[in-house]
Point group: C2
Chain length 122, copies 2
Amino acid sequence: MQEPTLLLLTALADAPRHGYALIQEVAAISDGRVKMRTGTLYGALDRLLGQGLIEVAAEEVVDGRARRTYALTGAGREALAAEAGRLRAVATEAERRLTKIRAMLPGNAGSQGRPASGGGLS
Amino acid sequence: MQEPTLLLLTALADAPRHGYALIQEVAAISDGRVKMRTGTLYGALDRLLGQGLIEVAAEEVVDGRARRTYALTGAGREALAAEAGRLRAVATEAERRLTKIRAMLPGNAGSQGRPASGGGLS
DNA sequence: ACCTATAGGTAGGTTGACGATATATGTAGT
DNA sequence: ACTACATATATCGTCAACCTACCTATAGGT
């Protein structure tokens, strides 16, 4: 699952929303960094509907404009929770490794971390 | 940046590694869930080299086999840190929204605009 | 002889994100 | 009245990234 898709599910996690509102919500979640285009949005919505992760919660006409409201399904909720946990684990590991003090001096390559499967350098 | 790429940078964060070791390291980081194929690996390595996020740290011949060792550059280190922080924020937000108690009961769609004032969508 | 692990690489197909475009209504300014 | 912008949904073609499958080659185990 890619990030735009994850943001979409996240935007639906607390309340059902319609397409246009999702674009704004995704922008809000990502602090304005992700401006989702309609091409991405409706493509993703179709895909997620097909995967059963979201469903159409309502189809109304508000002020003369058609409005289709989407909601997370149980499966979508589970998928989002699993994905979020996984991403958190990767982020934690990345940060842990970045802060690890490396004794990587010239001529000392490969001495850190696990030994490379028995076969040392020549 | 997608997850395989992120895992690759993470695998290089604590020490330089060569291609095959990266596949194993990525598998270890992801708890065996991501078994990166060589097609993905070398495509990503080429891309990251082009972006200046990694560099070739060493080219040796070990036991008759060529071995190219890759390392994170300063830019790669920054990119990984930024990416990890971003992902953590998204994961946190997703989890926060998922645990939020929703007042979205059936027939209670009031928080999402007023109920249908017209017919459904085409 | 065969298999597995190590090590690196290419070819081709699929997926998903994206930009561009189309349609239509409401609101605000000039 | 006209123009511009925000709201709202939708399709199409392109492209980057990923993935499957395949290939070469050495070392060591069964």
